[in-house]
């Protein structure tokens, strides 16, 4: 290794060691991020406070409400005696769901057409969706049971046989449907992105601010040496964070690691090629460290929301879906989730790798060209 390149690398590591604050931050941030996102973000909403206006007093109603409670989606906390009272509870936000059972519910059921009204406070769509789905599922299930019973009553001899239609859903890779298992591996991608972009941009801009970049420009250092000298320590930190995050994911959040870690580490490079490129680009256009930070944040936001890190891409409007196809994190998430959760190999992952490489090579080249220009 050339003495000049070695000089830069050694210096960057001294910076890192001296700047304890940055070092602690670099190691603590992944852990904090995992805890915040892994625990706080839970898209399956359970134990929604529920108010019930029960007018029938029938056994059928009792049994339906028990079924609701048993799903754990609904906590029946309030029993009310009028529509007005129900409306007030929902207006106040004390109850998020209201269930209205009509006076003739038992009689209706025996005639096979019963109406139960479920009112949902949809100001929080996530709660609403969960509640609506759960309520609909219970309704469907109960209907099926009733039909089955009716059929059984009609044809003697089929006693004790299972219902005619039994849908069994198997949730692969994440059988308990825990949000953390979906989100935590994705966070590794977000983390790598954050580190490589910010650290890269800041380490160059700080030199510009302090005037040391001027000395480097006048020195015999080649631009590629300067860049590589900053990229290598950056990658070491990024991989350190990734390892830290995987450990926490596995041992704290019980995220299974089903695939090949070496493959994950290698493919992460293709992702970081692009993010380092963004970092270099931002370092070339920013004059001050706060400016660089703000620009980083700007690139970070769309990636978080459009990549499918928190919300599934399938649920986005078409335009947003197109945008998400332009975001490198989208592809890297597929790779991380593919390897960590599904344990799939390279043959399944290359369709995500190709766009990453194309993006990475393009942005990296453009960034380096821009960087060269700003040094002149």
């Amino acid at each position: 290794m050339g003495s000049r390149l070695l000089g830069i690398i050694a210096k960057e590591f001294i910076h890192l060691r001296r700047d304890m604050f940055a070092l602690v931050l670099a190691l603590a941030v992944p852990v904090a991020m995992l805890f915040i996102f892994g625990w706080a973000i839970n898209t399956d909403v359970k134990h929604v406070p529920t108010a019930v206006f029960e007018q029938s007093g029938s056994a059928e109603a009792r049994s339906f409400l028990d079924a609701m409670t048993n799903t754990q989606y609904f906590d029946i906390l309030y029993w009310v005696s009028s529509h007005t009272e129900l409306a007030r509870l929902i207006d106040k936000g004390t109850a998020k769901v209201g269930v209205v059972i009509p006076p003739d519910f038992g009689r209706q059921l025996s005639r096979q057409a019963a109406d139960i009204q479920v009112i949902v406070d949809a100001s929080d769509p996530l709660v609403a969706t969960s509640a609506v789905n759960a309520a609909a599922a219970i309704g469907a299930q109960r209907s099926l049971q009733i039909i089955t019973r009716t059929v059984e009553g009609a044809s003697v001899g089929r006693q004790g046989e299972p219902p005619p239609l039994d849908v069994r859903v198997r949730a692969w890779y994440n059988p308990d449907l825990v949000s953390a298992i979906f989100i935590v591996p994705g966070l590794i991608g977000a983390l790598l992105m954050q580190t490589t972009i910010t650290a890269m941009a800041v380490s160059v801009v700080r030199e510009r601010e302090k005037g040391t970049l001027e000395a480097l420009i006048v020195s015999p250092i080649r631009r590629w040496e300067l860049l590589l000298g900053k990229i290598i320590p950056n990658l070491v930190v990024a991989y350190g964070q990734m390892t830290m995050a995987l450990l926490v994911a596995h041992y704290v959040f019980d995220v299974p690691i089903r695939g090949s870690l070496p493959l994950l580490y290698v493919l992460a490079m293709s992702f970081m090629l692009g993010t380092l490129g963004i970092g270099i680009f931002l370092s070339a256009v920013s004059r001050t460290v706060p400016q660089a930070m703000q620009l980083t944040f700007l690139t970070f936001l769309p990636s978080i929301y459009l990549s499918g890190l928190l919300f599934p891409i399938e649920g986005m409007p078409v335009v947003a879906q197109y945008l998400s196809a332009l975001i490198p994190l989208t592809y890297f998430l597929r790779i991380v989730r593919g390897i960590v959760l599904k344990g799939v190999g390279f043959s399944y992952l290359w369709p995500s790798l190709v766009p990453l490489l194309i993006f990475g090579a393009t942005i990296f080249t453009l960034a380096v060209l821009k960087f060269r220009k700003t040094l002149d």
Partner: protein, 335 residues
């Protein structure tokens, strides 16, 4: 390489930025082993010239050699044989004195075997013994300045560029620093230094004064004074400074009048004019001076004398503002 007479020599060196001519056909001659002061107000073209000489900016026209290396053909080679120190000092504040020196030693590829000896020598030179492990950010101004110089010298360059090395440093450190570079020059290192301080200019072997992209004067301070300038300078103390100033400015014998504190500084047009002439003139006008004396012309007087009458006042103002206001905020330096 043969010992060249000139460490730096340019021919019609020119640099344009769009339509603006920053450096206009400069013929610069810096002898080897000389302490050369490169002067001029902001925006005059000093920095642009230095950047071309360091091999980081391509000339639009003309060319030259630095230590015998063609600056158009081989700018990269120039970089490793020269030293450069800027007014920002370019030190890494989180690194120790030793680590800063080691970094620059690596960057300038000082052979490993020589590094330790070289570093020790630099610590000695910068008077930093005992502070090798001190974090550079905690050093005071004078020490930082000498460390920056040591970093620029770590690869034993035969030519160093010092871009306003004393800007914002206290007067004692300034004097020590000049003692240091004087010794370096005496030992054979060529030094090109830019400064705003006219008293520093007096300490140089040669001066080049650049104004609006052109070299308007070049030579040793003594030569410029005795051969080119040759005008008496008189200082006057008088009651009504403003009226006296107006009267003198209109007098044919006077080339320039400047107010300096409670005095007027009068540059006379003729070699043979004296302080007595000025005293007589003012007395006749009804403003007898309390004190009138011939003084030594300053470097500032020399340079101002090279520009047209209408530009004199403005140039004086510029030079003065520089001495008072340094250091300038980063990024606002032009030229």
């Amino acid at each position: 390489m043969s010992a060249e007479t000139y460490a730096v020599e340019t021919r019609q060196l020119t640099r344009r930025f769009g339509k603006r001519v920053a450096v206009d056909h400069l013929d610069l001659h810096v002898r080897a082993g000389e302490l050369y002061g490169f002067l001029g107000p902001n925006g005059a073209g000093k920095s642009t010239t230095l950047r071309m000489l360091c091999g980081i900016l391509e000339p639009s026209e003309g060319g030259g050699t630095v230590l015998g290396i063609d600056l158009v053909a081989e700018p990269e080679r120039i970089k490793s044989v020269i030293g450069y120190m800027s007014q920002k000092f370019s030190l890494y504040d989180e690194l120790t004195v030793d680590e800063n020196l080691t970094f620059y030693a690596r960057v300038y590829e000082v052979p490993r075997a020589q590094r330790a000896a070289r570093l020790a020598q630099m610590v000695q030179l910068a008077d930093l013994s005992g502070r090798e492990s001190q974090i550079a950010g905690t050093l005071s101004g004078g020490y930082r300045q000498r460390l920056a110089l040591a970093c620029a010298l770590v690869h034993s360059p035969r030519l160093i560029f010092l871009d306003e090395p004393t800007a914002g440093v206290d007067p004692v450190s300034r004097r020590n620093f000049w003692g240091l570079i004087r010794r370096l020059a005496d030992q054979g290192t060529t030094i090109i230094v830019t400064t705003h301080y006219m008293d520093e200019a007096e300490l140089c072997d040669s001066l080049g004064f650049i104004y609006q992209g052109r070299l308007i004067a070049q030579g040793s301070p003594a030569t410029i004074k005795t051969e080119t300038f040759r005008r008496p300078v008189v200082e006057v103390e008088v009651d009504d400074l403003r009226r006296a100033s107006d009267l003198l400015a209109d007098w044919d014998a006077v080339e320039e009048v400047v107010r300096i504190g409670t005095r007027l500084r009068v540059v006379l047009g003729s070699e043979h004019a004296t302080a007595a002439d000025v005293g007589g003139f003012l007395s006749r006008a009804g403003l007898p001076p309390r004190w009138v004396h011939e003084v030594e012309p300053s470097v500032e007087d020399l340079f101002v004398s090279f520009v047209d009458k209408e530009r004199k006042a403005r140039l004086r103002e510029q030079l003065r503002a520089l001495e008072l206001n340094t250091p300038l905020p980063p990024g606002e330096r032009a030229g």
